[in-house]
């Protein structure tokens, strides 16, 4: 078994014997009531032994369907054409008996959601042994022994106990490692991983990607990594294929595609991505329009309706996937040059040296609703007008007019001191006794100043959303103090809180669940005004203005939420929050449910609104790249406590707390060379339960410093003494006894 498989495709010379998976002109069509749905069109690729191929694309691009078709896992009614050969054997159209010999043995698969990938009623050991027994005639004991060995390889602690446990007793990251163990059980030649880390937190993602690497090293398997995350692709694969509307539109070595994209779509994707290694002042450039409906594909190039470069030819003739040659020429790809850089664009030559910002516009209008540059300009002027109106409106209300503070320091609007929220855990019995409590938030203090964006970052379960709700007084504090412009909010009755709610508004994470599906959009946006009885004579006019303000078509007020896409709905949510002229917006993961190209537009909108309207944002997020882009200051939370708080600049340049360092280094950079050469700080294990947090420093159980660098005496301090959040100078505070600044980006 070879261990130096990565980046060594040149060593394995292009002999056909080395091809483990060859897909040729694979097409998948689903029948539907409205006619056939071509989900995948003529996809071809070759995969050599030990090689890693990334397939990237947004939701609906056909990347998952392609791999399901290869595995023969599509529903019966799907029509699959073309060919897929594993080690020279055709595997499309095999009988159940024949294909089950290939699956698991030669080609294995890892699915997206580890929480649903394992059968809840069988033990971990049984499910791994089952994979062994499916292909090898060995005794159950031997299969179990192999299962144990596999669990060790993927890095699961105390594997002998885990064998007897059921899936629900393991965390998501552990379960995904079990799935990896199952995939490598029979030393397959190819492993297809379909978004294997999308459902996981970043620190766990780093662990799982590591396990995947080990699995490949151990089995020598080639990898097909399907993902929407360009950062993951950059670090994990040798070659990459970009899919759009069911086709591969660009493919080539990962450095080529990332540094010298030859298809406007790939360039656009890269440009719409907020980057950890980018500058805050860079504006994101969303791609206009939405991916075409597969039912109704445009005649020429699938991307032409959204492409700023599109010409007549693009709308008439679909470009083939051709090799890009030096000097901008295009030539046919031959069988031997499967490693070359190919692109499906008539004018790929013109993209030499072009940046995303040269081609795409940095705009905050609803990019999904517009099709052309002219429309964008029209929409932008509407936004500008709407902003004027909104500001006038706001000035007319004296109570919310910003007070001109004498000092140069911006005024603190919302201030929290030692916020604590404990949720009781009750017994299952009739009495429902209190048997413990979840310490969701344990002593959080923060100040939100005027016109500033404060980001609250952390992994799932760290208490960031609970903190956001506490700040809005939506749930009762267990203890602590909360003031808005100097007035205490804690303990206020709902009735006395209500007038203040005008100033403090909330935007939710899920754009689908946060809008009442039975209300017209105009009613949704107008509802807060009705509740507060601000008796708008022309409420309808105001709703139109608000729609314009968030970049939507003002004529669409009578439509219902289901007629809008995710990004558009999130804009509606923002419009609703703005209807009362608030001063503070709490944004709870506002863009995490959106595809990157759409996310960019919403981020731009939020930034513009803040600049123009002077809003203050509390931005709750798990995504450090987005936070880096939008925030002025950042507070990092871990298990109910803030572990570090600093300006964005300070935090990313010189993170001091080991957790912040681990978090930053776990975010994959969409840059192949940087991603592969950067320093890494890896944390082990999962977040402990907030019902029973570790004594002393809560991070110590996973802390790389605690495990690796500290002496016994120093560790005692971590175990016994909870570290205070102390100022290290210039407002940069961290809660670590032994904090030390590390440069990571």
């Amino acid at each position: 078994m070879t261990t130096e498989y990565m980046n060594e495709e040149h060593a394995a010379a292009a002999t056909d014997d080395d091809v483990v998976l060859e897909v040729t002109d694979l097409s998948v069509t689903f029948p539907s009531d409205d006619g056939p749905l071509p989900a995948v069109r003529e996809v071809s690729y070759r995969l050599r032994r030990g090689e890693a191929l990334g397939i990237v694309g947004e939701s609906g691009s056909g990347k998952s369907v392609t791999s399901m078709a290869i595995m023969g896992l599509l529903p019966r009614n799907a029509r699959v054409e073309g060919s897929a050969k594993v080690l020279g054997q055709e595997i499309l159209g095999l009988s159940d008996k024949e294909i089950s010999k290939v699956r698991g043995q030669k080609i294995a698969m890892i699915f997206q959601d580890p929480l649903t990938s394992l059968n809840p009623v069988y033990t971990i050991g049984y499910q791994i042994a089952e994979a062994v027994l499916a292909h090898k005639k060995v005794s159950k004991q031997v299969a179990m022994a192999r299962a144990l060995e596999l669990l060790e390889i993927v890095g699961i602690p105390s594997p002998d106990q885990r064998l007897k446990q059921y899936p629900h007793e393991l965390s998501g990251g552990m379960r995904q490692r079990v799935v990896i163990a199952i995939a490598m059980a029979n030393d397959p030649d190819v492993i297809i991983a379909d978004e294997p880390t999308t459902a996981l937190d970043v620190t766990v993602q780093a662990q799982v990607l590591d396990a995947l690497q080990r699995a490949r090293r151990e089995t020598g398997a080639a990898l097909v990594l399907i993902t929407h995350d360009l950062g993951v692709v950059a670090g994990q694969v040798d070659r990459v294929g970009v899919m759009y509307a069911g086709r591969i539109v660009e493919s080539g070595p990962v450095e080529e595609v990332f540094y010298r994209p030859r298809m406007p779509y790939a360039l656009g994707l890269l440009g719409s991505l907020p980057r950890l290694d980018g500058d805050r002042s860079d504006r994101l450039t969303p791609i206009l329009g939405t991916p075409p409906s597969l039912r109704d594909l445009p005649e020429g190039c699938g991307f032409a309706p959204r492409c700023p470069m599109a010409r007549d030819l693009c709308h008439q003739e679909e470009p083939q996937l051709l090799l890009t040659l030096e000097g901008g020429d295009r030539g046919p790809a031959e069988a031997g040059d499967a490693d070359g850089h190919t692109a499906a664009c008539h004018f790929s030559g013109e993209l030499t040296g072009v940046e995303a910002s040269d081609l795409f516009q940095a705009t905050s209008v609803d990019t999904e609703g517009v099709g052309s540059v002219a429309e964008v300009e029209a929409a932008e002027s509407l936004i500008a007008e709407a902003r004027e109106e909104y500001l006038e409106e706001a000035r007319a209300e004296p109570e919310t007019a910003p007070e001109t503070a004498g000092s140069t320091e911006p005024e603190v609007l919302l201030s929290a001191t030692d916020l604590v929220k404990h949720f009781p855990i009750r017994s299952q019995g009739l009495l429902r006794r209190k048997v413990g409590e979840v310490q969701a938030v344990s002593g959080v203090s923060l100040d939100l100043r005027e016109r500033e964006t404060l980001a609250l970052v952390g992994e799932s379960g760290c208490g960031k959303s609970t903190t956001a709700r506490l700040l809005l007084n939506l749930i009762r504090l267990t203890s602590g103090e909360l003031t808005y412009m100097g007035r205490p909010l804690h303990g206020l009755s709902d009735r006395r809180m209500r007038p203040l709610r005008k100033d403090l508004q909330l935007v939710f994470q899920d754009p689908f669940a946060s809008l009442d599906p039975r209300m017209a959009v105009a009613d949704i946006i107008g509802e807060p005004m009705r509740i507060h009885g601000s008796g708008h004579r022309d409420a309808r006019k105001r709703v139109k203005e608000l729609l314009e303000l968030v970049g939507l078509n003002p004529e669409h007020g009578s439509r219902y939420p289901h007629e809008f896409s995710g990004g558009q709905r999130q804009r509606i949510g923002v419009a609703r929050a703005l209807s009362l002229n608030p001063r503070v917006l709490v944004l709870d993961e506002p863009v995490s449910a959106l595809d990157v190209s759409i996310q960019a537009g919403v981020i731009n909108l939020l930034e513009d609104l803040q600049d123009e309207l002077g809003l203050s944002y509390l931005f709750v997020s798990h995504d450090l790249s987005v936070v880096k882009h939008i925030a002025d200051r950042v507070s990092v939370m871990y298990l109910g406590k803030i572990v570090e708080t600093a300006t964005t600049e300070q935090l990313f340049r010189a993170p001091a707390h080991p957790y912040t360092q681990a978090l930053i280094s776990a975010i994959p950079l969409p840059d192949p060379i940087k991603e592969r050469t950067r320093e890494r700080i890896i944390v082990t294990g999962d977040i402990p339960s907030p019902a029973n947090p570790p004594s002393g420093c809560r991070f110590r159980t996973r802390c790389p410093k605690f495990a690796g660098e500290l002496s016994e005496a120093e560790r005692t301090k971590c175990v016994e003494e909870p570290p205070e959040l102390l100022d290290r100078g210039a407002g940069h505070r961290d809660a670590c006894h032994y904090s030390q600044v590390v440069e990571l980006i």
């Binding site: 089950s100 699956r103 649903t116 059968n119 809840p120 009623v121 499916a134 629900h168 199952i182 029979n186």
Partner: protein, 336 residues
Amino acid sequence: MLVYTMRRVLGALPVLVLASILTFVMIDVSGDPLADIRMQQPPPTEEVIQQAEERLYLDRSMPERYWLWMTGIGGNGDIGLLQGEFGPSTQGPQYEIGPAIVERLWTTLRLVGAAMIFALGLAIITGVISALRQYSKLDYTLTFIGFLALAMPTFWLAGIMQAGGVKFNQLVGDQVFATIGDGRFRAEGQPLGDQLLNAFAHMALPTIVLMLISFASWSRYQRTSMLEVMNSDYVRLARAKGLRNHVVIRRHALRTAMIPLTTVVAIGVSSVIDGAILTEYVFQWRGLGDFFITAVDNNDSYALMGWLLLSGVIVILANLVADLLYGVLDPRIRYE
């Protein structure tokens, strides 16, 4: 698992007590057991009524009577559930409720048990077939049959079946189906073959009627649950491991798809008992259904209470069994 079982059993006890109180109060306030005597012409003397009241313990207050009904302490030895006595009957001092109920319980349980087993088996089979062949002609046919069965009222279905049975007997010129009575005593002492044949003749039609009531909805339920599981990630992963299709269906899909059905079946027990009353009436079985109707006719409150409590106990037991089965089938519940 032991702790889980203990907790479930202990949890069932207060429900049982509550059910007994509810049963007692509801029957007690809903009618006068002596209404028939009072209506007699010529009117009975005050003494006769007083005697009857004493015999039925109607001279005591309601809480006293409940206590008496449960424990029998301070009674005449004919009352007290904990002592195995169901109380005096309005149908005369010689009519004993306890033995009557036990005798009929067996008759009815035979019918209910057989109907439920067949309904469950058939529901699982058709549900699974429907799910595996979704939107095929077979699926549509089974769906149609299911909704047809769902739409037919029990008494009407029973009547049709009975008439059909009679017609069939006439056609073949032999008594294949017995359409009247439960026939328990008819074949006693005969050879085993004859006994079985007799049991079949009497049971076949009522069992089919009673079975169809629950079969339809259970089958729909199993189909939905199976479809959900077949589209789940773990079934896809099982296939991706290289397991054969039939192994995947049996080991991974069917087992998990049956978990939700246990709850539905447990809840369905009460409706099967409902159906049994009507079915027994149409086929003139002397089972619990007939017992219930006679008791209502005679304002026989203790008999009614006994009957209601018994069916309550059966429902509670069925739910307890379902809970325990759930624990066996689903490890997530076991370790909660």
